[in-house]
């Protein structure tokens, strides 16, 4: 896949976003929060299972 058209589209979109950069920053923060939470869920489950195993040795 040639990256040229994608890069051009992203550059053009960045120019369109410029007037709304405040809103874009809030959206970016929301995206980071969402991605961080999605990544942390499996780890949280791992910790939960480890704790359950410690609490109930049969598991």
């Amino acid at each position: 896949m040639t990256l040229g058209p994608i890069v051009r589209f992203v550059a053009r979109s960045a120019a369109w976003v410029r007037p709304y950069r405040g809103l874009a920053a809030v959206i970016a923060l929301g995206l980071i929060l969402e991605a961080a939470f999605t990544a942390s869920v499996p780890l949280a489950f791992r910790m939960l299972i480890a704790r359950l195993r410690r609490a109930i040795p049969i598991c």
Binding site: M1, T2, P5, F9, S13, W16, V17, P19, Y20, L23, A24, V26, I27, G30, L31, I32, L33, E34, A35, A36, F37, T38, A39, S40, V41, L43, A44, M47, L48, R51
Partner: protein
């Protein structure tokens, strides 16, 4: 218990933030498209009227309908199909390297494998998509021509001829749409096939490591048994 409570609160916060983010993103997209429409409209008035007439008019109308729809689709799909997966990949890869770097190195092979397929298919898909856009513009041109020359078509009884021409264009569009849809799906599927191949390699690697561990444990226990028997 604390962990479950923290996870529940986290789910509530992320869901609320996600909904708010969806609303903000939809608003930003609409505002960006409004600016773009105004920009195209201004450009329309800056251009000098060309001699080709209806053909150019149809092209300009297509800029406002099909082209803007394509841009809208790209903008709306950017978050769920590009930004969020990119962030997931970045955070997931970092986490994987922190947890188990050997597994992460194997998992990192997914990047070249997932890119090989789309690299082969994507240029064809892009060409097909461009051809479909041209075919859509041709259909629009036909419709516009028929609307503006309706009286004349009726007077000279050209309905059947015009219909045959229109059906021909629509048939072209069907073939173009099918090709574009199929090649678009192929771009996605070819990346998936690379990922599946990597999973098979990783599964084989895990099985080999597990077998080696079992053999090592068996050898260790046999050795400790023989030492105990000697004593």
């Amino acid at each position: 218990m604390t962990l479950i409570v923290a996870m529940t609160i986290g789910v509530a916060i992320v869901a609320a933030a996600g909904l708010w983010r969806d609303y903000l993103y939809a608003r930003v997209c609409s505002l960006m498209l409004r600016d773009l429409r105004a920009e195209i409209f201004d450009q329309l008035h800056r251009l000098t009227p060309s001699s080709s007439g209806s053909e150019d008019n149809a092209g300009e109308t297509a800029h406002f309908s099909t082209d803007l729809a394509a841009i809208e689709h790209a903008l709306v799909s950017a978050v769920p199909w590009a930004l969020l997966p990119a962030l997931d990949v970045a955070i997931g890869t970092t986490l994987l390297f922190m947890l188990e770097w050997r597994l992460a190195v194997i998992a990192a092979l997914v990047f070249p494998l997932a890119l090989i397929g789309p690299r082969i298919v994507a240029p064809r898909a892009t060409r097909a998509s461009r051809e479909r856009k041209d075919q859509e513009a041709a259909v629009l041109r036909d419709v516009q021509e028929n609307i503006s020359a309706r009286q004349m078509i009726r007077a000279f009884r050209l309905e059947a001829l015009m219909r045959a021409r229109f059906i021909g264009r629509v048939d072209h569009l069907v073939a173009g749409s099918t090709r574009t849809g199929f090649l678009g799906a192929l771009v996605e599927r070819s990346a998936g096939i690379g990922i599946l191949l990597l999973q098979v390699v990783r599964a084989r690697h895990s099985i080999r490591i597990r077998r080696l561990r079992i053999r090592r444990d068996a050898a260790d226990s046999a050795r400790s048994r023989s030492i105990a028997a000697r004593r």
